[in-house]
């Protein structure tokens, strides 16, 4: 997996993901050094999309593990298929050796990721939501790429997955995990980058409208909102506006109000942005 960050960036852009220089470098190093990459940043800056875009670029399978509080080994690594085991004992009179074989093993994302033929992209999403015990499991897998199942023995990786972890700071991650990973901090994009993203995702959009949309969203992020609109929200809004056939925000303010649901996701934020304030914001960018 040679190449350099520049070509990787261009390739990702071709598949519709606009990556900054730092992110392109981080992905390049993750690929060439074979180390996991930890991507941190606020919600809605495209952390999860990175993995999808990378998988598309490498033409690899994307295996996703969504973390949550209480996630444990039987949901993340493997589990025996007890129902089938019981049935097999009843119906076929299975012997022990067959009972604990691959046939009855339910592969969960982590085991699945290391038993592929071609190296997949393993996305461990929102790792900060899982608890510390799970982080410890993960450390073992990320350093050795092997999993021990007491009934079967140790399964070593057939292909080393490209591992991408995302976090948005629900809690501090352990230093041990951080040390094993490359690190990249993603922030909300600047105007030019965001315009490029919009152009990549919604090619047919009129340039003036695109500028207005991005300007408004960027201005909204500077307001003191509970939940600042991310890139996904911006794209939703653009799709909603173009779906309604609007091509000038300043001309059609009722439509702006009607579609604000795409951008402001809490009642408090809705109240903080009454129509007059929105008008002022749009007036400034139009």
């Amino acid at each position: 997996m040679a190449g350099d960050p520049g070509t990787l960036k261009a390739a990702l852009a071709a598949s519709g993901y606009v990556a900054g220089d730092a992110l392109a470098m981080a992905l390049h190093l993750a690929l060439s050094l074979g180390r996991p990459l930890l991507v941190e940043g606020p919600a809605g800056v495209g952390k999860t999309e990175v993995a999808k875009a990378l998988a598309a670029h490498l033409d690899a399978r994307l295996i996703r593990l969504q973390c949550y509080e209480g996630l444990d080994a039987s949901h993340a690594i493997y589990e025996w298929n007890y129902q089938r085991q019981l049935l097999a004992i009843r119906a076929e009179g299975m012997a022990e050796a067959d009972l604990f074989s691959e046939r009855f093993l339910l592969k969960r994302p982590l085991l699945e990721a290391i038993t592929q033929d071609a190296p997949p992209v393993l996305l461990i999403d929102e790792i900060d939501r899982a608890d510390e015990e799970f982080e410890a499991y993960l450390l073992e897998i990320l350093s050795d790429f092997q999993i021990t199942i007491p009934e079967m023995g140790t399964i070593a990786a057939t292909a080393r997955p490209v591992v991408i972890l995302t976090a948005n700071g629900t809690r501090d991650l352990s230093d041990a995990l951080r040390r094993r990973c490359l690190y990249c901090h993603l922030d909300y994009p600047d105007t030019e980058t965001e315009l490029a993203i919009l152009a990549a995702r919604a090619p047919g959009l009129e340039p003036r409208l695109a500028r207005q949309i991005v300007g408004t969203v960027q201005a909204l992020r500077r307001e003191d909102l509970e939940k600042a609109p991310g890139i996904a929200e911006m794209l939703d809004w653009a799709a909603a506006l173009s779906g309604l056939g609007i091509n000038d925000l300043a001309a059609d303010r009722t439509a702006v109000q009607a579609t604000l649901a795409c951008l402001l996701k809490t009642a408090a934020d809705r109240d903080a942005m009454p129509p007059e304030v929105m008008d002022r914001l749009i007036g400034r960018v139009a």
Binding site: A22, Y82, D131, E132, R171, L173, R178, R179, Y183, H185
Partner: protein, 390 residues
């Protein structure tokens, strides 16, 4: 831009890079080991400064803070950008603030801002209590040593320990989300049952079950023992002792202008000796408070590093503070990211017409899971259902 002048003995790139990593370390970052940094450089065009910078940034920065500071540190090391070690800078500031007490009365007001923004007495607090002129937050350590033996009589102690146990149980009682095998449980443990059934020719005769084990939350208690808290010191210290005795995992601290860990002293079997040790530790007891600084100090200890989502931080304080409220808020936010819950027990909250308007309290409120009244043992005992619900 000038290039860095390397010491004559710095021969190869490895040595220069190791110097750079040492530079990062000296500035409080925790960079990766040298081989990894070298591997990162080997994977890019290391001669291109922009690429080398990004590659090292990705490899060496571990968190958002390091990510932000990296560029400045990189420029400072490789391009002599005029940055000095921040380590020395802050040491310099500390020297200024630690100006001998003697001078303080003699320096004019204009000099005050030099001392690193030493905050004045809490404005909001001053307003809140101004009418009676009580509970004034001061920066002065009370040099008088107070013997805690007189603060703890047998009856109060017993009552306090009973209360503490009840409260500790209410906070601590947390069922685990995961199931473990158990004699009695709601769900069958299929894995064990099937394994055991092999010995019976496939008949699941021995049934094993799974249940959620109790995994108690850890309590970390921080008790304010400044002058304004004096009337409550007696019940609160006994309460702290009760907490520490109820569970060996509990951690207890006292703070006024400094932070002192008192867990070991509280656990002393010999009650008299425990009281003696405590009173030795509580020198300066009954003076002013800087809650923000105390919490910051706590956040820096290994005690705070051991906090998990399963721990509850209990702060017993009236919120009158001489430190900057922003500092308090920042320290609380830092603790909040590690701990599961922060509960603030405020003796003043029990008073009629009290509102948390003191600047420090107002700054702290957004970071708290609960802000509850506690001025007597009876009031503490009444909190049990509230804490259980959190």
């Amino acid at each position: 831009m000038r290039a860095t002048r390397f010491p004559a003995r710095a021969s190869g790139p490895a040595e220069r890079l190791s110097g750079f990593l040492a530079h990062l370390r000296m500035n409080g970052l925790a960079p990766c080991p040298l081989p990894e940094a070298l591997a990162a450089l080997a994977a890019v065009k290391a001669a291109d400064p922009a690429e080398a910078r990004l590659a090292l940034k990705v490899a060496a920065a571990g968190d958002a803070e390091a990510w932000e500071r990296f560029d400045d540190l990189f420029d400072a090391f490789w391009f002599n950008a005029g940055m000095t070690r921040t380590g020395t800078q802050s040491a310099h500031v500390q020297v200024q603030t630690a100006r001998p007490r003697l001078w303080q009365g003699h320096l004019d007001e204009g000099d005050g801002h030099e001392s690193g923004g030493q905050p004045e007495a809490d404005d909001g607090g001053g307003e809140a209590e101004g009418a009676e002129g009580r509970l004034i937050a001061t920066r002065r350590d009370s040099l008088m040593r107070r013997d805690l033996r007189e603060l703890m009589d047998e009856a109060t102690r017993r009552e306090a320990e009973r209360t503490a146990e009840a409260i500790a149980r209410a906070i601590r009682d947390r069922r685990s989300r995961r199931r473990r095998q158990a004699l009695r449980g709601a769900l069958p443990d299929l894995r064990r049952t099937i394994r055991a059934s092999l010995a019976r020719g496939g008949e699941p005769i021995d049934l094993f079950r799974r249940a959620r084990p109790d995994r108690p939350a850890r309590i970390v208690a921080l008790c304010d023992v400044s002058g304004s808290m004096q009337p409550y010191a007696r019940p609160f210290l006994a309460f702290l002792k009760g907490l520490a005795d109820a569970d060996t995992a509990t951690d207890a601290y006292l703070f006024h202008t400094r932070l002192i860990r008192v867990t070991a002293a509280l656990r002393d079997r010999d009650r008299l000796r425990a009281a003696g040790r405590l009173s030795l530790m509580a020198q300066g007891f009954g003076g002013g408070t800087d809650i923000g600084a105390a919490l910051e100090a706590f956040a820096g200890t290994c005690g705070a590093k051991a906090l998990t989502r399963r721990s509850a931080v209990l702060i017993l304080s009236d919120g009158y503070c001489t430190g900057a409220p922003e500092r308090l808020a920042a320290a609380l936010a830092r603790i909040r990211r590690r701990a599961g819950r922060i509960i603030w027990l405020n003796p003043l909250l029990g008073w009629q017409g009290y509102a948390p308007v003191a600047a420090a309290m107002a700054a702290a409120l957004p970071h708290l899971d609960a802000h509850l009244p506690a001025n007597t043992l009876a009031a503490l005992a009444a909190l049990e259902p509230d804490l259980a619900r959190l």
